[in-house]
């Protein structure tokens, strides 16, 4: 109980501090900010707002590279919302939305999506390099297999290692690039930041397509 209270207080304090942060990249000062009411029990969380981009059931949007939120760990979801709010994880849209959430709203959003059944797709390596990295890693460069931490077929492990399986390829590619460039926090123990820096653009593309469970988007594949 103590921990919970502390967690909320910390959240509120950091949200207050955020009011003084400059506007995030790409949001024009003159355009109206998307604001969600922070009044009421929801602390600003509204399924309808999230559904606008993530879909009514939180399935995401492959063409736009918007992630599925279904079944993601609540600790992870909360961390991401706080990181969006602080600007550590850069996304113009998500920053303003996260900033409009209270600590309660963040908790509500996380607990809503974490209980939905996650997407799961059969994965098929289109070429050996995807399977090599995902299942075997590249230990000569100290790159462990993705599956070692994200679970077999990238289905996720516990509260800190989100599922990769079924996420849009474009989303996965953008995130690996963001880890590589530092426009997203490097994660627990800086594991993902360190690993992403060792991946080539080709590695990133191959892995992203593999874990999405979709056919490559180029080359006339159906």
């Amino acid at each position: 109980m103590m921990n919970k209270t502390k967690y909320f207080e910390r959240g509120k304090a950091s949200l207050k501090a955020l009011l003084f942060l400059p506007l995030t990249l790409g949001v024009h000062a003159e355009s109206p900010q998307p604001r969600i009411s922070t009044e009421g029990e929801g602390g600003g969380f509204s399924r309808a707002t999230c559904a606008g981009c993530h879909g009514i059931e939180g399935d995401g949007n492959a063409a736009e590279g918007i992630p599925s939120l279904r079944g993601l760990p609540s600790t992870y979801l909360k961390e991401q919302l706080y990181a969006f709010a602080s600007g550590e994880r850069q996304s113009p849209v998500m920053s303003s939305i996260a900033q409009a959430l209270s600590a309660d709203g963040i908790t509500l959003a996380a607990s809503h999506y974490t209980q939905l059944r996650p997407l799961s797709r059969p994965l098929e390596a289109k070429d050996e390099s995807a399977n090599d990295l995902a299942v075997h890693g590249r230990w000569s460069e100290n790159i462990p297999p993705c599956d070692d931490c994200h679970g077999p077929d990238g289905k996720g492990v516990g509260e800190n290692f989100p599922a990769l399986n079924g996420q849009p390829a474009l989303y996965l590619e953008n995130q690996l690039q963001a880890f590589k460039k530092g426009s997203r926090p490097s994660g627990p123990l800086h594991l993902m930041g360190n690993i992403a820096k060792k991946l080539s653009d080709a590695d990133i593309r191959t892995l992203s397509v593999y874990y999405s469970g979709s056919s490559p988007m180029t080359g006339g594949q159906p």
């Binding site: 000569s140 100290n142 070692d148 931490c149 077999p152 594991l191």
Partner: protein, 296 residues
């Protein structure tokens, strides 16, 4: 002095080569190990593949001989290829060899039996059992097709320098909480993936390796941790941190040593008479080896 010599023999009998401790550069990059796609598509290849399956998911493919949640690959990284994590190809090259642990010359198959008895907390498959044949085939295939840097094969088990302060449970607990808990959990029981498969192995308790395993010895655990942990960040812990956290890990109870005589004191005198074993010692309020073993 006698103890030191026994220890040295024990170390040589463990077959880890190359540690990459000195400069942080992964030594195995100097050796080229074969990829799975190089496994021949014939009868021998089938046995190699079977060995690889056993290596990857030991509880499923060698169920009768496994008594915990571990698989070979949990410690022998890169499916038995990675130097510094007791690679299979180096082990294959190192036998037959005399082992102080059982005072006789052991074949490679006999060495594998010990893995099942101690690290897997199970039963030794009989010599000639398909499980041993498959694992030996996998190891032989790997060694035969490796382009091994001879400099590596000359090196013995990596000996991690002694820490400047004696290893400490309290300091180790802090190192654990900062670096290990993320994957192995606050209670050391490891973590399962969302689909139920084991993702991160248990480090102590009833589903982990037993007191007879090499990893239950502080020097080996510290060297392993320093070289390989946290996963992908090998070499990042200080020597002191590695020793402290090894002490913390091995300062918890685990399944009984199968050589247990009925008395912890006697078992310690016979099989754990070294400062690298905490078996029989009072650590954090418990005499280790005397139960209760944390249930996971």
């Amino acid at each position: 002095m006698k103890h030191l010599m026994a220890l040295a023999l024990l170390m040589t009998s463990l077959t880890t080569l190359g540690n990459g401790l000195s400069d942080g550069v992964p030594e195995e990059s100097a050796s080229v190990l074969p990829a799975d796609r190089d496994i021949p598509k014939d009868e021998f290849g089938k046995m190699v593949r079977q060995g690889q399956l056993i290596f990857s998911d030991t509880g499923q493919f060698a169920r009768a001989y496994v008594g915990n949640d571990l698989s070979c690959r949990n410690c022998h990284l890169d499916q038995g290829r990675k130097a510094g994590s007791a690679p299979l190809w180096a082990a294959f090259l190192s036998y037959p060899a005399y082992r102080a642990k059982n005072h006789r010359v052991n074949t490679f198959a006999e060495r594998l039996q010990e893995c099942f008895r101690y690290s897997m907390n199970g039963k030794a498959p009989p010599l000639g059992d398909p499980v041993l044949v498959a694992l030996e085939s996998y190891a032989y295939w790997m060694e035969k097709n490796a382009k091994i840097n001879p400099r590596l094969t000359e090196r013995g088990f990596p000996q991690l320098q002694k820490p400047s302060s004696p290893p400490s449970y309290e300091r180790g607990k802090i190192v654990y909480s900062n670096n290990c808990e993320l994957c192995h959990g606050a209670n050391g029981r490891g973590k399962r993936a969302n689909d139920g498969h084991l993702a991160f192995p248990p480090l102590w308790g009833n589903r982990s390796f037993n007191w007879g395993a090499g990893m239950a010895q502080l020097d080996k655990a510290a060297a392993y941790i320093k070289t390989n942990m946290p996963l992908s960040l090998g070499g990042s812990l200080s020597n002191q941190d590695a020793w402290d956290v090894a002490y913390f890990m091995d300062g918890h109870d685990r399944p009984q040593d199968p050589r247990h005589t009925g008395s912890v004191d006697e078992t310690r005198a016979l099989f754990h008479h070294t400062q690298n074993s905490l078996y029989g010692h009072l650590v954090a309020g418990h005499v280790l080896g005397n139960g209760p073993v944390p249930q996971n």
